[in-house]
Amino acid sequence: MFSIGDSVLELISVPASSAPSNRLGIDHIRIAIKDFNAETVGRVLRERGIAIGTVPGTVRISDPDGIGIELGAAG
């Protein structure tokens, strides 16, 4: 990981044999949310029919093209 000001650039390895869906390029972006609460955010998203995944302290979704969005607290 590299720090870019207050943000982070993360590199993730993908094997050459990986499926096209695991292509090079963007894996995900993380967006810091004001007053983030994983349970509340998860509920809001589920109510909208958006599939979510959770990693402790974050909520993960995919946009309509499968680009990953990670939601979490600032810092």
């Binding site: 990981m1 590299f2 720090s3 870019i4 000001g5 207050d6 943000s7 982070v8 650039l9 993360e10 590199l11 993730i12 390895s13 993908v14 094997p15 050459a16 990986s18 695991n22 292509r23 090079l24 390029g25 963007i26 894996d27 995900h28 972006i29 993380r30 967006i31 810091a32 949310i33 004001k34 007053d35 955010v41 809001v44 998203l45 909208r48 599939a51 979510i52 995944g53 993960r60 979704i61 995919s62 946009d63 309509p64 093209d65 499968g66 680009i67 990953g68 990670e70 939601l71 979490g72 600032a74």
Partner: protein, 224 residues
Amino acid sequence: MDLTCATGSISRRQTLLLLGALAAARTAGAAEPGIMQPLSLDHVNIRVSDVARSAAFYMGLFDTPVLRNPTLSAQPGSPPGDGFFLRFGDGYLAISQALSPDVPGLDHYSLGLRDYDKAKLAAKLLENGIAVPPRSSGDLWLSDLDGSLMQLRPPGGWARQTATPYAGPARVGPALSPLSMSRIALRCADLARAGDYYKPVVRDRNRVRGFQPVTGVLDRGFRP
């Protein structure tokens, strides 16, 4: 002069020695200046299969200002098309159309640099063996080893946006208030090589976390 602490007092000479040692330690621990000094993740430009659909998705989630440019060229030379911009703190997400045979994904990401000077930076990059393809733009564009395109520019890109505020139908129920775009994660074919590429490029005094190789192929990758 003496400094008193819980264990007693130390002399002026001891104080000077202590201060010298602290300064040396600080110098030894400081990161060397990198080729450039990134201050911010200015923006990320994604290409999507349906701009209207993706814009509706993001606008429906995030309570944040939105701009629109119906003739956006994501990068110099790109054909113009519909584009949206969502503000995330000091940065923003740009959404533009994936053009056949392109697939959805990253068009480019942009770093805001301290003391940005295009000519000086291009020369410095070249000195370090990094070629800068010529482009008709005030910004510099670099492609990393895996083809991820990086735009280099002064910070504050949102304030320089000339796109107009989105004037479409009222947005229904955006629920999340974004503070910032705090991370971009990129997939690369060879983590060690990619790390070696980025180390000198983005190293600066802000680089406090250092480069941490991620093992376990894609087990850190995104799984919603």
